[in-house]
Amino acid sequence: DAMVIQNPRYQVTQFGKPVTLSCSQTLNHNVMYWYQQKSSQAPKLLFHYYDKDFNNEADTPDNFQSRRPNTSFCFLDIRSPGLGDAAMYLCATSPGQGGSQPQHFGDGTRLSIL
């Protein structure tokens, strides 16, 4: 089955230690998204790639960066994680940028900061 896969499912890192979260897709979708979801809050879009074009949300902290080396993979890098960055990180894809195309989500990576 075509899908969106996030690794690892659970990640523990130390305060200030860089961490990378991974997302891969077999859907061959053009667009990949990263969301942050804190407990009892709505998922919040951090940034997205349309092919290789990177689009950052205005309020995404500078601490967060992303890479998309090819169509299938996208990475979320947190350079110096703080306690406030502990959250569920969701990766999603969609075929294109059209508003009517539902996004397909991975199962998320839960990040804990010690």
Partner: protein
Amino acid sequence: DQQVKQNSPSLSVQEGRISILNCDYTNSMFDYFLWYKKYPAEGPTFLISISSIKDKNEDGRFTVFLNKSAKHLSLHIVPSQPGDSAVYFCAANPNTGFQKLVFGTGTRLLVSP
């Protein structure tokens, strides 16, 4: 400022009855609305959507209603089944040509046998 609001954190319904989940929005630029279902330890799964040019969309047991003048939409599940127990997220997309979903905080539905 929460542009998409789901004011009921939880809802309990008996099996076979109707479940009604509500969502309000503030941005009149939103023109496409989606509902996602999320089971524990899984990512959100697309359920049903509606364009702002419609007021109703139906897919099996699931129906979404849109009231643009009230900036309100609702998801009806009839009949409810225990397997429907999950968190339901409402999401809206502005008419920008790019899909930038704004999510609500979710409503946890519990359907008891």
